[in-house]
Structures are given as C-alpha cells and as structure tokens.
Symmetry: C2
Subunit: 214 residues, 2 copies
DNA sequence: TATACTATGTGCTTGTGATAACAAGAGCAA
DNA sequence: TTGCTCTTGTTATCACAAGCACATAGTATA
C-alpha cells in the first residue's frame, strides 16, 4: 500500500483545517480523552468525518481501523510533520489597542507565542506585557535574527506598513500577517496574508442582502 | 441577450471579492478617476482581469465594450444590488482592547459603521467612542430592534459568548461575526463566521514548514 | 460611412476540492 | 480459525471556481 507521505501538494484548505484539528486534539487531550474517531473531530470542528480522514491521509496513516486515532500520538505526529512541536514563535509590530489584544490573546492560546513585540513609541519600549517584551523598532533586525523568528504580525497604521515590511524581510522574516489592508511588496519566498474584521462584516452584509433577493 | 440579474446562486468567492472591488472603486472615486478597466481593478486587488469581469457578470452588464466601467455608476449599481448603499450598520459586543480597536478601525473605514456597542462593565457604559455610544448589555434587545441592526460583532471572552448569542438572535440579529473560537448554537437562518489572527498565524507556520519538506 | 481598434462579456476547458460509497484492515468472540 | 463488527483509508464521482480565448459591441478616426 502506497503511503502518502508528503504528497506533492497539500491543499490550502486542508492546511487551514489542520489548525482546527490540532486545537481540537489538544482540547481532547486536556480532557483526558485517549482515543477518538474521525467523527468526534468532525463534530467539534464543524466538518464531515470524511473530510477529516481525507485531510489526515494526505500525511500518512495514523489511525487504527475499527478503533480510531490515539489522541496523543496523532498530535505528536502532526507536530513532527509540521516541525512546530506546538511551539510557534512570532513577532508583533505595533503595540497599540489591537496589538496588545493579540498579545493577551496569545497567552490564552497555547500554540502561538509572541516572543517579541516592537513599537516606535518611547513610552511603550522596554515595557513587558505578560512574558512579551516590547522593543524599539530600531532593534527589529537584531532581535528577529537573534531569536530566528520567521513570522511577524503587523498591527500599525497603513502608512508605515511597507517601511516596516522591508525591514522585516531584510531581517529574514518568511511570512507576514498584516492587519492593514494595503498591498505589500515582498520577495516571492515570503508568504503574505491579511486578516480584516470589517471586510468579513461587509461580506456578511452582501450575503444577507443577496439572500433576500434570490 | 439574457441579462444575468440575480443569477440563481452567486459563488461565495465572488462575494468576498466584491468587498475588495467596492473598496477599490471607492478609492478610485476619491482620486477623481471617472473611468476604469477591469485590468485596473484586477491589479489593485491582486486578481486577474478575467476574474473581475466574470464576477461582475454574475450581476449584469455594467461596462461599455472598448471603453471600460464608469466608476461612479458601477459603485451605485453594486450598492443597489446589495441594498447597502454604502451604509452598513453593525453592533459590537465587548468594548475591551479588541472591541475598541475595531470601533476605531471602523471610523477609518467608510463602509461599515458600528452604531451601537455593548458592555457589562459599568465604567464603560454610557461612554462614547467617536460616534459610537456604549450601552449596557441589558439594552441589547431594545437597541438592536430600535435601529433594526442585522449584524453583530462579538469581542468578549469565550465563556460568555453563547449567552450573548442567544440574546442577539432573540433580538433579530441575522449574522454574527465572532472573534472567539467556540462553536455557536444558532438557528439555520443566522449566518455565522469567525475571524482569528492566531489561527491564521498557525496556518502560516504550517505552510512554511511544509514548504521546506516537499 | 467605412474601417480600425479596444475592452467587455461569455462559452469552454481545466484543475481542484468536497462528498459519498466502499474496500480493507483490525479487534473480538465463539 | 471463522465470522462479525467497527472505523479507517481510498477511489470514483460530482460540483464549482479559475482562466483562457474569442466573438461581440461599442468608440474613434478619417
Ligand atoms: N484588520 C483588522 O481587523 C483591524 C482591526 C482593528 C484595527 N486595525 C488596524 O490596525 C492598526 C492599529 O490599530 P490600533 O487600534 O492598535 O491603533 P493604535 O493607535 O492603538 O496603535 C498603533 C500602535 O502602533 C505604533 N506604531 C505606529 N507606527 C509605527 C511604526 N512605524 N513602527 C512601530 N510602531 C508603530 C504606535 O506607537 C501604536 O502603539 C490600525 O491601522 C487599524 O486600522 C485592523
Ligand atoms: N479572534 C481574534 O483574532 C482575537 C484577537 C484578540 C482577542 N480575541 C478574543 O477577544 C476577546 C476580548 O479580548 P480583549 O483583549 O478585548 O479583552 P478585554 O478584557 O480587554 O475586553 C473584554 C471586554 O468584554 C467585556 N465583557 C466581558 N464579558 C461580557 C459580557 N458577558 N457581556 C458584555 N461585555 C462583556 C468586558 O467588560 C471588557 O470590556 C478575548 O476573549 C480574546 O480571546 C480574539
């Protein structure tokens, strides 16, 4: 039987769901659950069980037929594949309202850890929020290189974003999550993605209004 | 020639892009640009021009062959179709760090307007943030009904979310955007969507790590 | 009025993801 | 061992979205 280890390409949708599966598995683990079925994961994540099995099968065979999946071993297998081992260190630029909300949020979430934050406001520099220290933007390159950080979250006003992006790329950042909705100029090997609450709300407005019109 | 007004179903992907198209059009309008081509929109939104034309064609024929689209009339046509006319009033629950960042963000964005915010903290109630007044959670039903608000954003701790969701649904809310990552229990006619910065960051970690392994 | 030109709108192909249905494998009991 | 049950892993099918490529319909110019 051909094993699917690292099939040429894994669908982005699958990768997105993997995030939810690991959360779900962690939550089962914390409840002391040892063994689960694809159906259990599916219910908790709001997808179909066949989707769960298909997704996992992109990486290999981890279950036991007739039984299910061992929670702990499935978790550590996924951690091994993604090389993250549950510890994902990221940087954050802009310790304003939004930035500090994200830092606090990350302390409640056991996966992503913001290990360094940056701001240009002297009043904020050298403060600590939980375990996260706030540095000057001048130190971005030093700190990013020192801690070998590969992913950064940007939560500053749009006008300054590209300038900061250039610094981040120079420092070796390989993926950027921007909360400002302006196009970013980056080399091909740097992943960029955007998150915006209000765009999502607008989308919901469109969806509602068209629903009535059909 | 059959006009496509309200073709049976419009793809979700199209609807998501419509949000970006309208922003793009507004930005062109503000720059004083009168006439544009699908190529212009495409470049600004990072998609292909054929996608733009296909998307618009789901709603009808708005362009002039050999010329392009009239910015202003295309905008008002879309506003007419979506019945939003550029004014999208939403409510927000939880005026903490995240909530107040979103309210501020909405003042910088000319589309979605947070016309009412709610909190349970007495110190925050009756304050005003920009033009947004903060009410007590006890007033949710009254205010939502009074202003006929159909969409709500939830930015409170996960533990209290379902309780608030029930109140919102009872008050007539038809779409909920939650920033807490717990499954919501709602009737079938209520749309639910989630936004989470850290899930997106985890996804980027997975993407990066698998990129190296292929 | 004719001709060249330009960008739209759309039919069609291609690729990708979702879903269902089923075969295969593991455990268990007699 | 044989047969039964249970859940995985996989295959085959369906649905949908992306993108090409061109006919179409409008403008501009002479
Ligand atoms: N995508 C979303 O869903 C979303 C939601 C809310 C806000 N936003 C956006 O996020 C940004 C921040 O919002 P906020 O409410 O936290 O604003 P804020 O004013 O509270 O905070 C901004 C912070 O960034 C710092 N800063 C500014 N320029 C900087 C620079 N060049 N280098 C380093 N630090 C810099 C400031 O000192 C401040 O601490 C805004 O532009 C807003 O539009 C996006
Ligand atoms: N999805 C994301 O990207 C994201 C990012 C950051 C934070 N969060 C989540 O958003 C939530 C809020 O974060 P924050 O940093 O603003 O926290 P916060 O403590 O600053 O604010 C929470 C606010 O909600 C109010 N509140 C609490 N319970 C309430 C209730 N039952 N009814 C009405 N109001 C209530 C509080 O009074 C407070 O004003 C947290 O649970 C956090 O995990 C999500």
């Amino acid at each position: 039987m051909m094993k699917n280890y690292f099939k040429s390409v894994i669908p982005e949708t699958t990768l997105r769901r993997m995030v939810y599966y690991t959360r779900c598995l962690n939550s089962f683990k914390n409840e002391g659950v040892k063994l689960i079925q694809s159906e259990d994961i599916a219910k908790k994540c709001g997808v179909k069980s066949s989707v769960v099995r298909k997704d996992l099968s992109y990486f290999g065979e981890f279950g036991v037929r007739g039984k299910g999946y061992d929670v702990e071993s499935l978790l550590s297998t996924i951690n091994g594949i993604t090389n993250t081992f549950g510890k994902m260190n990221a940087a954050l630029i802009g310790v304003g309202k939004l930035g500090s909300a994200i830092i606090k949020h990350s302390t409640e979430n056991f996966n992503v850890k913001i290990i360094a934050a940056f701001d240009k406001d002297k009043k904020k520099i050298n403060k600590e929020i939980g375990e996260t220290k706030v540095y000057s933007v001048k130190d971005i390159e030093n700190i990013i290189k020192k801690y070998k950080i590969k992913i950064a979250i940007i939560a500053i006003p749009p006008s300054d974003v590209q300038e900061i992006v250039d610094i981040l790329v120079k420092a070796g950042i390989k993926a950027i999550l921007s909360l400002a909705l302006i196009p970013l100029n980056v080399p091909d090997d740097v992943e960029v993605s955007f998150v915006d609450v209000l765009s999502e709300v607008e989308f919901l407005f469109y969806k509602l209004s068209l629903r009535r019109n059909i």
